[in-house]
Every structure is written in structure tokens, then in C-alpha cells.
């Protein structure tokens, strides 16, 4: 086998090992590379930042553990921002297997800001029927969620002073890993009731969200873990939190992994073109 052939046939196990090494080393000794905060992250941050104190912020957990490493850090960062700005946070979701994550985030972040359950934030859990739930919240929150996740009736939750609808919610963020997700909220909540929507999505679907950004249907977008890291940075810069930043910690490894994958592709191509020229 010639050198060029060998170059194109590196064993899979070696590639696996290489990937593992470049990812683990920066975790053990960080390089502290500094990134730039993307425009779309800034748009979402600003949209939430500009909400008046005590306004409702609806956050929807439209994902499950399978995309947790990407979307859960976004959820924590947005919660920290919302609580620091004294917004009233309502959390629900369209994915039944994501319910526990919604609850976890609130349990982690609310005590950091001394927020009281039922008054400052509420967890509504999950209801079946997807579009019927989204449309229902536009008509009556009380009818759609007669009780919260823990079985407390709507009327006994001080966070709701009346039967609210989307009209009372100036902004919502859908953290979405697919369908149902932010597109469901745009199609059913926004086109009929006109709520402003921002989204946090897995990187896989981030490029698909751009038409909605350009048309103004989406206000701000967090695409993948890197955007979560940017949000963590903005939160810290504004003095909202000093908590551990899970996404930021991983950005060095993310950078190096991208670099290695690109180098591998280049090596593959060099081998391919060298062999083609020989033939």
C-alpha cells in the first residue's frame, strides 16, 4: 500500500481514539479560548432583557434527555436571566419525556434567586394533544391547565391573577429538539394569537430556522451548545449570576473537535486527489 493509500485508510479505532483525546485534554487543562457572541444570541438576550419587571415569560421544554447536553444549558441560562430580571416564569412543554428536565431546571435555579414557587414561577407539566394545547393556551390558560404539575388548582396559584392567554405573555422561548417544537408555536400560537417567540434549538436544526428569523417570526435564536455558552457569558457579564457555566466549560473541546474533524476531511481529500492523479 502506498503512502497516499495509507493516508486514506486510517483505521476507525484510531480516529475514535484521536477524537476522545482532543476532547478530553482541554477539559482537564482548559485553553480558555474566547469566542464572539453571535448576533442571534444577542437578539434573544435583548428581547428577554427588555421585558418589564413582573412580565410573564413562557418557556417550553420541547425536548427530552436525548438532546439534553445542547438544550438544558440554554434552559438554565435563560432561567437565570429571567429570575435576575424578576420576570414571572411559566414552564410547560410539548414532550412528555422532557417533563423531568423542566422540573430539574427550576429546582436548580429558583433557590439561587430566592424565588417562591407559585408566586414567582410555576411548572405546568405536560398535557397531551399538541396543537390542541397550543391553541388552548391562546383561549384560556385556566381551561388548558386546570392544575399545575403538582396538582395545585390554577386559582390557588398567586402567579395567575386572572385567567391569562397569550395576550398577557409578552414573550416566549421554545427550547426545541424537533417536532413538536418552535415551528408548532409559530404556526398555532403566533399566526392565530400573535405572541412573540424566540427559540433555542439543537445545532442540527439551527440552519433551518433562519427563514423564520429573516421574516421576523422568530426573535432571536440559540443554535446548539455554543449559543448556550454565549448566553452564559452575557448573563455573567451583566452580573446576573456567578453559577457554574456548563456549556462554556466545553467550548475548548468543541473547538478542537471541529478542527480535528476538518483536518481528517482534508487528509481524506489529499489522499483521494493524489491517488486520482496517479491513475
Amino acid at each position: 500500500m502506498s503512502f497516499w493509500e495509507k493516508l486514506g485508510k486510517i483505521d476507525r479505532k484510531i480516529i475514535f481514539l484521536l477524537m476522545a483525546v482532543v476532547i478530553i485534554i482541554p477539559l482537564l487543562s482548559p485553553l480558555n479560548l474566547v469566542g464572539k457572541v453571535g448576533r442571534r444570541t444577542q437578539e434573544l438576550f435583548r428581547a428577554i432583557d427588555n421585558l418589564p419587571e413582573n412580565s410573564y415569560l413562557l418557556i417550553t421544554i420541547d425536548f427530552d434527555p436525548q438532546s439534553m447536553p445542547e438544550l438544558y444549558p440554554m434552559y438554565l441560562a435563560i432561567l437565570r436571566h429571567a429570575f435576575a430580571k424578576n420576570l414571572r416564569v411559566i414552564v410547560t412543554g410539548l414532550w412528555v419525556t422532557g417533563v423531568g428536565l423542566g422540573e430539574d431546571g427550576l429546582k436548580t435555579v429558583a433557590p439561587e434567586y430566592n424565588k417562591v414557587y407559585g408566586r414567582d414561577y410555576v411548572f405546568l407539566g405536560w398535557k397531551p394533544g399538541i396543537t390542541a394545547v397550543v391553541l388552548g393556551m391562546g383561549r384560556s390558560m385556566k381551561e388548558t391547565f386546570p392544575t399545575d404539575y403538582y396538582g395545585t388548582s390554577y386559582d390557588s396559584l398567586p402567579i395567575f391573577t386572572k385567567d391569562i392567554t397569550y395576550r398577557d405573555i409578552p414573550f416566549m422561548v421554545s427550547l426545541s429538539a424537533g417536532v413538536p417544537g418552535y415551528e408548532t408555536w409559530i404556526a398555532y400560537a403566533q399566526s392565530r394569537f400573535g405572541i412573540r417567540i424566540g427559540a433555542g434549538v439543537t445545532a442540527v436544526s439551527a440552519a433551518d430556522a433562519y427563514p423564520y428569523l429573516q421574516s421576523g417570526q422568530l426573535t432571536g435564536l440559540l443554535g446548539g451548545m455554543k449559543a448556550a455558552a454565549e448566553y452564559e457569558f452575557l448573563n455573567e457579564k451583566a452580573g446576573f449570576t456567578k453559577a457554574f457555566k456548563p456549556a462554556s466549560q466545553l467550548m475548548d473541546s468543541q473547538s478542537l473537535a471541529h478542527l480535528v474533524i476538518m483536518i481528517l476531511v482534508i487528509i481524506g481529500n489529499i489522499s483521494y486527489f493524489a491517488l486520482r492523479r496517479k491513475r
Partner: protein
């Protein structure tokens, strides 16, 4: 109660079971995979009961005697006809109801959100006239959208201008797919990093 440390060990061992697939398919991975399916479905059943069936159906219908809930309850029950082959056709009734509903609400919603609004975005962007470069990119986008749509228009043979536009459409599509691929790489790496963070931080405690 089992202490938290032991639970973390459970999580770590299960994580390693899945990672073992990198070496090759093996019983540990198969066990983890089957466990995941079972636990997920069991979890769904429990949540559906406590979040929905009990507060939204059992309480109003059986405890408060609100007969309004009887019709949807009976329609829903028909889903269970699938377990009895002789009357299994009855399942078509709730399915027809829900499918009709979802198709009906989808038409105006999709029309509004994904066609009308998107067309407005293509032709009438509010900030288009703010800067000369925005006008340029607005025009490029417009051409790109039209070219992509023409590429997907297979009902007529593409020749002349339409062929040229279709080829231009391919260029836009390739950039779009490239962007998606780049982002996909990022997504997969992130998922792996998330798990390594769990193993190294929460389990082994070697990073802070």
C-alpha cells in the same frame, strides 16, 4: 432511600454501557437499549396519568359528575378496541375525529406561518432599505428562493432560463446543506461533550 452517590454510579455505568457500542455490538449495550425503551414508556404512562387523566378527566367526570366529559371519554375509550380484533374497526372513529381536526387546523396555520409570512419576508423586508448592502442581500435572497423553488419544480422539463435557474438553485441548496452539515458536526460533538462532562465532573470529580 439509596444515597445520591450510588445513583450517580448507576448513571455512570449505564453511560459506559452505551459507550461500549464503540467497541462493537455487545450484551451490555443491548441491555441498556432495551432498558431505555421500557423506562421511557413506563415514564410516559405515569406522567400521562398524573398530569392528565387524573386531574383533567377522572376528577371532573367521575368525582364532580360533569357529564360534558362523557363524549370525549367514550370516544377515547374506543382506542382500546384495537385489543379486540372483532371490534377493532371502532378505533377509526376517534382517529377520524382527531385526524380531521388536526388536518383542518393545520391548513390555515401552515398557510399563514410558512407561506404567507415567508412570502412577505421574501419580498417586503422592513429593514431592507436601511443600508445598501441589505438591499443587495435582499435581492440575492429573493433570487435564491426563486431558484430553489424552480429546482424543485419537476412538473415540466427544465430547459433554457428555467434550467439556468435550477442550476443556480443547486448552488444555494449546496450552501444550505453545507451549513446544516457544519451545524450537525457541532451538535454531535456537543452531545458527546455533555456526557463526558457528566463522567469527569459529576462521577469522577476530576474537573471542576
Amino acid at each position: 432511600m439509596i444515597p445520591q452517590e450510588i445513583w450517580i454510579w448507576v448513571g455512570a455505568i449505564l453511560t459506559l454501557f452505551i459507550f461500549s457500542f464503540l467497541y462493537g455490538d455487545n450484551p451490555f449495550y443491548r441491555f441498556a437499549e432495551h432498558l431505555y425503551v421500557g423506562v421511557s414508556v413506563g415514564y410516559t404512562i405515569a406522567i400521562t396519568w398524573h398530569n392528565f387523566f387524573y386531574p383533567d378527566l377522572v376528577v371532573p367526570l367521575f368525582k364532580q359528575g360533569n357529564l360534558f366529559y362523557l363524549i370525549p371519554f367514550l370516544l377515547g375509550i374506543l382506542y382500546f378496541s384495537i385489543f379486540f380484533p372483532k371490534i377493532s374497526w371502532l378505533i377509526r372513529i376517534p382517529m377520524g375525529f382527531v385526524l380531521g381536526y388536526s388536518s383542518g387546523v393545520a391548513i390555515p396555520a401552515i398557510l399563514q406561518a410558512n407561506i404567507i409570512k415567508q412570502m412577505q419576508g421574501t419580498f417586503l423586508t422592513p429593514d431592507l432599505l436601511k443600508r445598501p448592502d441589505l438591499i443587495l442581500w435582499g435581492i440575492v435572497s429573493l433570487i435564491g428562493v426563486v431558484a430553489t423553488v424552480i429546482y424543485f419544480f419537476f412538473s415540466r422539463e427544465q430547459k433554457g432560463l428555467t434550467k439556468g435557474m435550477a442550476n443556480l438553485g443547486i448552488i444555494f441548496l449546496m450552501i444550505g446543506f453545507g451549513a446544516s452539515f457544519g451545524y450537525t458536526v457541532m451538535a454531535r460533538v456537543s452531545l458527546l461533550l455533555g456526557r463526558l462532562q457528566f463522567l469527569l465532573r459529576d462521577w469522577l470529580g476530576v474537573i471542576k
